[in-house]
Structures are given as C-alpha cells and as structure tokens.
Symmetry: C2
Subunit: 336 residues, 2 copies
C-alpha cells in the first residue's frame, strides 16, 4: 500500500523545521544534535543531575479529537510532562516527541499541533531534541522531558516529616471544571474562559518549584495531576507519614456563571479534580516565615499538616475528621 | 467505572520490583532515583555527552498480540531502542517505559513482558529508571533510552565522504525472513530457528559500535532498522554524498529449508528487509587495515563505496549499475 508524498522522512523534517528555531534560544546550547540522526546528543552541566520523565497523552484517554483543538493538544502534551520537572525543582532542557497519527492528520492538524507545541517549547525554554513518528488510526503522543538540577537539590516525594505544613500552589479543581464546561458545550466554548484555559493550556509551576528547591524550603514536593486526594496519599506513602487537611483552608474554585452547573461542588472539585498541574509541597514550621503569600504571581496556600501515623489522609470538615480516600484520576480505575 | 484491585500504583510497583534488581548491577549507580517519584534522577559522567532516543513499539504496527509472545515484545521493545545508542557508538545507561495495556493484560501477560524486558535490561546493562502506565484497548509501548559517550566521540550519519568504504555488520534480511516464517505459521514455530530469533530477539550491536567510536574508525554510522535501501539513502542525504553498492558483496541470508518459500529472494531481502538492527558505517580507505573480519563474533562486510554525487544510491549487479530506490519500511507508506 503506497500513499505517495507523505512519508516519515518528510514528517520528521517538518517537525524539525518547526522545532529548530527554539533550539537557538536555548542557554548554553544544551542540545548538540537534534532530529535527523539515530539519537540526540545532550550536553549535561557540571555538578548537575539529569531529570528524566515521560508522559502519555492519548486520544480517547487524555483528550478527544472532536473536543480538543490540535493547538491545545500540542501545548498540553509538553506542559504536563514539564510539570514533573517543576515538581523536582528542576530546569527543563529538551524533550523527545513520540507521535503516531492518521494519514489524514499529517496536514493542517499536524501544523496546528506543532504550533501549540512550539509555543510551549519557547515559553518554557525546552527544545525539541528528537522523536519517532508512525502512522496509526488514533492519535498517540508520548513526551519525554529532560531537565537538570544542581546535585542533591532535587525535592523528592519522600522528605515530608510530622509537623511539616502542607502547601499547594494556585486553585484546585479549576481544570476539572474547565473540562466539564468543554464536555457539555455543543459548540466550541469561548476560549477566554479562565477555567477552560486552565484545562487546555496548563502552566507548569517551574519558577515556584525552582525557587523552593534553591532555597531548600520544600521538604517534599510533587505535582497535582490526578487530584489532591490521590496525589497527597502518594506523597504520604513515599514519606511514611499521614496528613491532616483542613477543608476550610483549601483554595477552591470561585463560583462563576460559566462554571456553575448541577454538579458544582467546589470542595469535591478541589479534593478529586485532576489535571491542575499545581504543586503540592511541605515546609518545616520553623521556615514558614520565608514563604511569601504569592510567588511569581502564583498564590501559595497552607492547607494542613503532616502527622505521624503512616499512610492516612484525614480531612477536617466542620470540626470532624474523616479519612479521605483517593478519588482522583486513575487510568486503571476510571473511564473518562 | 471501578475495577477493584488493579490500579496504576500497583502496576508501577510491580514494574519497579521487576526492574529494580538490574539497577544494582549498574556501574557507578547512574540512576539515583527510580520509579515512584515525579521523575527519575540520572548522574551524568564528566566529559561525556548524553545520548537520547525514543522508539514506538505498537500492537498492530510493530507486533501482533496473536503472533508475538509477551516475552519477545518485552525484549524487542528495549533492544530496538538500544540499537540507536549502538549506532552513535554509545553506552546505554537507563530507560523510561511508557506502557498502555488492556486490563486483561495486567496479569500473566504483563509478567512475561517484564521478564523479557528484564533480561534485555540486564544483558545490555540498561536500568529501568521510570515510566508511565495507562489503560488502553490496545497494547502501546514507547521506550526512551538514555546513553552516554565521551564528548566529541559520537559517530553521526553526516560524516561519510567520497571514497569511504561502506560496511555492514552481520547478515541482512534475516529478520524479515524470520517475520515471514512467523506470519505463515498456523502454530507457533520452533523458537530455535535462528531466523526467528533474529526477528524476535534482536541484539543491538553495542560492542561493535563502541569499538568503532573509540578507535575513531567510522566516519559515519547508523543502524539498519528499515532496510538497507531506505537507511543508506538517509545516510547519503545526511552526508551529502552518494553510494555505490555491489550486490555480489552483500552478506545475504543463507538459504535454509525453513526460510525458503515461494517469495524467497536473498538479494531483495538484503536490500529492503527491515528490523535487522545491524550497523551500517563508513571507513576511510587508509584505515581499512585496522578493521578485523569479525568483531565480538559479528562479521564486518564491505559492501560498496561512497561517491561524490549527492543523494543517490546505485546498485551494481551483473556489471550494470541502476538506481536503488528506498523500498524498506516506512510507516507512512507501508501497511503491515
């Protein structure tokens, strides 16, 4: 079966042409050799560790072809992987793109996808270094991001200790609400809606993560991708501690005309809503005076504290404490 | 929709448990932090560059659930990505695994898959450092391999010059013939068949690639994944040269009872057969005396020379020269 002009070589060339200009802006020209050879070559900085992370972004599982614009798919596929670098306190350097596409999507769809990807690549100074393309009935994306951090400075999930105060950046549940707005719209909703922007164009909290790591302020950190109830349980398990969250302190979604619907419950959204890509971190009580209320325009909010028992997450609500079970996104439990 | 016990956390734990033991064997303990945090941390060696490559391995495109054992899928998904590191002359260090599976395959299938993956991981000293899992109707795999090479020693595709002699490792077309045997068998064929082994369990030519890079013998190099006719054209394009291949010199498949069929043509298999994962490289005529006939048990065969025109591949057969068009595997042109 022959398909004429479009082949893997030409698709790789187009991706390279679109990704190449961002390489020029990269400090230190960390990528010596980009797409077009068997592999990419990256020049690590001295006294730094390399951060490695990969993320699926799959049609039907993570986005829908009929609901999500190719521009948003391009942006988000990179942004969500960058969020893992932010969660370590690292600086992104370059990324690899594995892309499978239907033949019908190698024209305008691919161009728009690469447009969104390139804007994210420029904004977060993360160069396209290589990739693999193939043809497929469905759109499949896997992004690997390479970052760096000064040796021993990376903030792990495992460092939380009893007494530490639990913080989050931003507001929780906004992206989930944005997703609901998108899903119930029959026509494309107004793209200026901030809830929709939070869902379609998340901003990894790189500057906040880097500052917390540099100042050695965070004892543990991770990003909120699956929802607070699921992710905080993971942080507690990794650190061998428990957590007590005060529902009154949670930075919940503000009610708005666009977002309110029959199932609008700000607390549930904040506890279980996924895709926020905010940071969850812990700070020793003695260092709280170092933390500003907002950093680079992003609010930092104390939501509870770490306690001694192992692996429990408790929620305090109206003077009562109850166990909070993971209710966030789990691909092996949920179907979206 | 809830599925009870199996969730992403438990699947990641099993993958980690199976992958972790290989981390202990790694020289220098390059991976400081494995699966279980937001990202992995890798310690680069001084005066080395980091090699980065990613490869799709998708059900229906690259393997078939009913034909390929999970053990072979595990082995090959890593081995083919390692071949790109071999093609640069590098040493593999660690890899990231993106895996999407049906719920029905999270039991014995996953165990057997991880078994094959672990054997490849041990044999080629490449540790599982991280990954991402999700549920999916079809089995999707993307592997990112991280390798290292002393700075400036990587062998690129772009270094071939007129007069250089073209070499390949091993025999060409064996894997394609192995695939045909597998496809026409109604029952699983005998696994001791070397052609089948070449298709199911390819061995990346890491030792040969490393030696060629160390000795600075190869002026250009790449791996043969899509077939000589397609891959040599890529090497010529990258180097801005042409190539003349002598059909009489090609290390073609030896006829065997198992492999011979109605469409058995050793020359066509050698020119266009994919998946061999042998190395294609060029050497200056003045340095040919440095090259042994076999290296680490792998034959090295001169098959032609680089010429001056740009971008052409010519095949000499029975004293005639004709242009050789890329006829190997291209996912945007072929359907398997």
């Amino acid at each position: 079966m022959r398909h004429g002009s479009k082949n893997e070589n030409s698709i790789l060339k187009r991706i390279f042409a679109r990704g190449a200009d961002s390489a020029q802006n990269l400090p230190g020209r960390a990528v010596r050799l980009g797409i077009g050879d068997d592999a990419a070559l990256f020049r690590p900085q001295r006294a730094h560790e390399t951060i490695l992370t990969c993320d699926w972004f799959l049609e039907g599982t993570h986005f829908r072809r009929d609901k999500h614009s190719p521009d948003a798919v391009g942006w988000k596929s990179l942004a969500r992987a960058l969020s893992d670098v932010a969660a370590m306190g690292g600086v992104p350097r370059c990324f690899l793109l594995s892309l499978a596409l239907p033949e019908s999507h190698t024209g305008p769809w691919l161009d728009a996808f690469l447009g969104g990807l390139r804007r994210a690549s420029r904004k977060f100074a993360c160069t396209l270094a290589g990739g693999d393309t193939t043809r497929r009935r469905e759109i499949l994306i896997s992004v690997t991001v390479v970052g760096e951090i000064r040796s021993t400075r990376a903030v792990l999930r495992s460092g939380a200790r009893a007494g530490d105060i639990i913080y989050v950046t931003g507001r929780l549940g906004e992206a989930e609400l944005g997703l609901r707005i998108l899903m119930r719209s029959k026509t494309p909703p107004r793209s200026s809606n901030p809830l929709l922007i939070k869902h379609l164009y998340p901003e990894p909290r790189l500057a906040v993560g880097q500052w917390l790591a540099q100042e050695r302020l965070a004892t543990s950190m991770m990003d909120l991708s699956d929802g607070l109830s699921s992710d905080l349980a993971r942080l507690c398990a990794a650190s061998g501690v428990s957590a007590l969250v005060d529902s009154a302190l949670l930075p919940v979604v503000r009610p708005s005309k666009a977002g309110r619907g029959p199932a609008f419950d700000p607390l549930q959204l904040a506890l279980h809503g996924g895709d926020d890509y905010e940071l969850l971190f812990t700070v020793r009580p003695s260092r709280l005076n170092m933390l500003p209320k907002t950093l680079h325009g992003v609010p930092l909010t104390a939501i509870g504290r770490i306690t001694e028992q192992r692996g429990l997450v408790l929620l305090k609500q109206a003077e009562r404490e109850r166990q909070l079970h993971p209710g966030g996104w789990d691909p092996f439990r949920n179907t979206r």
